[in-house]
């Protein structure tokens, strides 16, 4: 009887030690994972992509009840505003017809001038519209997961747009889902410029909903309401894409509000501008060779 009790005490002590050891070991594993992540380890990247492919469909399935509520509410809201909306669209349509004819004539003119200058136009852009499956927005990161099954066009670093402008770039590409890093994430740094004055800077996210404009010249004149567009420096983003406008110009704290509501994005457009595309550069070389 006594022996049995001693054995029981021993076993419970061993169990406690194993538990303590497991806690230390798991904390250690978490720190190691962090270090590997910092070093851009391929294994962590692959594991993360594969696991995200596995868990994202569950999130997609969980959205069904939320979507039903949303569509019912939208139905009543749209019904209420249909007349107003119709009038607005009619006006917009008239304006667009005029703008379209102007754009067509400019395109012809541009082509003619291009021919005169022997200009090689950039390769046509290709894009893909993807549905947002999951979104994340907290103090530690800001990202979206989009459905991009089997599309080989998608590559890390590509520009992601909404209907109003740039919202981020592709961060991870999985076989079914891809992760988009929003411009508000702390890792996001985009070379930008003020549309009118052409003053350059960097749009830096800080995990709040309003990113900051940094590295602007000290003497630069910045005003509230100035439009911010991509500058094209570094070659990741093409120049001229709209991002947002300045909403505050306090000392060392220039805040920019994005044109898109990043908390309410349903679809995104992933655009391939072929900016760092080696195959395209080879095409140009061939074309030049032919001309010579």
């Amino acid at each position: 009887m006594k022996r049995r009790r001693v054995l029981f005490v021993h076993l419970s002590r061993i169990r406690l030690m194993v538990k303590k050891f497991a806690i230390v070991l798991l904390f250690f594993i978490a720190f190691v994972m962090m270090m590997f992540n910092k070093a851009d380890n391929v294994l962590i990247d692959k594991t993360s992509s594969v696991a995200a492919d596995f868990f994202s469909p569950i999130v997609e399935f969980l959205t069904i009840p939320a979507k039903m509520v949303s569509s019912a509410l939208n139905y009543f809201y749209d019904f209420h505003n249909i007349r107003e909306e119709n009038e607005k669209l009619r006006k917009e349509n008239q304006e667009l017809v005029i703008k379209n004819s102007r754009a067509n004539s400019l395109e012809v003119e541009n082509r003619l001038l291009g021919k005169l200058l022997n200009y090689i136009p950039p390769k046509g852009i290709s894009f893909l519209t993807a549905k947002v499956v999951a979104e994340e927005g907290n103090a530690f990161s800001r990202a979206l997961i989009v459905y991009t099954v089997g599309n080989k066009m998608i590559k890390k670093g590509q520009v992601v747009l909404s209907d109003s402008g740039v919202i981020g770039r592709v961060e991870k590409v999985g076989s079914v889902y891809s992760k988009i890093l929003l411009v508000t994430d702390i890792n996001s740094k985009i070379p930008v410029m003020i549309e009118k004055s052409r003053v350059r800077g960097i749009l830096s996210g800080d995990n709040t909903s309003i990113p900051k404009l940094i590295f602007t010249p000290l003497e630069a004149q910045l005003n509230v309401g100035d439009r911010i567009v991509t500058s094209g420096v570094a070659g990741v983003f093409p120049p001229g894409l709209p991002i947002g406008k300045i909403i505050s110009t306090q000392k060392n704290n220039i805040k920019v509000k994005t044109f898109s509501d990043l908390d309410l994005i349903e679809y995104v457009r992933i655009v391939d501008y072929h900016l760092a595309d080696v195959s395209y550069e080879e095409d140009i070389q061939k074309e030049r060779g032919k001309d010579n």
């Binding site: 798991l26 939320a66 947002v132 979104e135 927005g137 103090a139 890792n187």
Partner: protein, 172 residues
Amino acid sequence: MRDDLKENMKWSLQKLMPFILSLIFILFNYIPSIFSFPNIFRPAVGLICVFYWVLHRSDLFNIFMVFFLGFISDIMSSAPMGADIIAFLTVYVLVNNMFSFFNNKPFIAIWCGFSFIFISAEFIKWLVVSVYYSQFVPMNSLFFTILFTIACYPIIGFINDGARKYLMNDEG
């Protein structure tokens, strides 16, 4: 034989119920919002679930489950891999060390205890992420997340409570 198998499967599923429920809550947190409200109003439901189940049914919620839930949360998130695991494990360790404090305490005391443990876990996560990025992550959105999560504790706790009572009834 078939009844035995069915019974065993049912029992195994019941044992996994806390884990599955926590997993659903974690994934539910990533659903795209249908209304335009700031994303900071997303409670850290994963930490609420870990706190609740470690406190009430630690026999069904071991440290490996906590680690795995943290891992899933890290995968879905864009934050540095391992940050959520650290926060989840911190909650696990703190609840285990404060077990005697929570024993036979009214709901308000448990709620206060959760607030303390949650703030500690989020602070540690904030510190680790700040070291990772070599810059302090702004605290204002974290502050809102903390407030909102503490406010949501009774609701998530109530749902978990329902699952726990179901488990207890089934166990007899």
